[in-house]
Symmetry: C2
Subunit: 176 residues, 2 copies
Amino acid sequence: MVEGEEGTIGELTEALDSYRDWLDEDPRRADVTLAVTCELVDGVEVEASVGRRHVVKVDEPRRVGGRGTAPNPVNYALAALGSCAAIGFGYWSDLLEIPFDSVQVHVEGDVDPRGTFGFDDETARGFSSVRVMAQIAGPESPERYEELARTVDAHSPLLELFTGHIPVTTSLELID
Amino acid sequence: MVEGEEGTIGELTEALDSYRDWLDEDPRRADVTLAVTCELVDGVEVEASVGRRHVVKVDEPRRVGGRGTAPNPVNYALAALGSCAAIGFGYWSDLLEIPFDSVQVHVEGDVDPRGTFGFDDETARGFSSVRVMAQIAGPESPERYEELARTVDAHSPLLELFTGHIPVTTSLELID
């Protein structure tokens, strides 16, 4: 729910209510399998077909032999984590009726490339730590935005994926 | 290493050798922090700025109140996982000198949207299981390709992320 944009207020809640009803009509509809096909097209460039509608390009930086045409997989993982939080703010703002003016989520992930590229098998090959930092602006009290942020975190499938075994910190800053 | 494409053979190995030397010159270079900023721009649409060069669009399907203009975060997570495997085949083919003609990685992830959208707090909010299925074509023996696939899996930062707590199966099929 974005304050002041009439016509969008409550729309997400309405959409989710309809979706829930649709799932309830036939609980098998809740068994969703997402499918992505990744084809190595040139060097280390990949075209990932997501469902039937979207194609995502993936590449590596020039320094490691790619052509730098698109983000690499670890960057996409961070983008997925951060966008999941941002989208969560959108939904839960609407559901909890806690409007805001703007929200931005900065994500940082620490990696040591020596693990990933096999230079050193003692080094972890993924993220050693991750920070998710949300900045929100709006008319509600800090307490309400803390409640919103907690609810967002509690429902994020990407946060669940990351917190499986990587130390992840999340924070919320209320800005002007 | 893609067989028959002269000029690409060994290029990735060469790039990684140079990169390793560059890291060794100053080990602090191996402390890499990746940064992504995700802005909620409209409804549940997000623009994710990855480093300074790339912008990734994220959205939700129409059924749940989005506009369906781009994949959603869980689909991006699967695309990251599958592309990480495909790119790994590219690198390790070159490093281990196991050429192939083509490789495709299909990824499937099972999710129950009732968890993610808060319809049912008893339901897991992320993937309940994930399958990564690679198909490879090329002149080498099945044993060599199995070796290649094992090495790819052992170095994938995204596979490490997923296998933290989600059951993930990986498979390799040699095709004509």
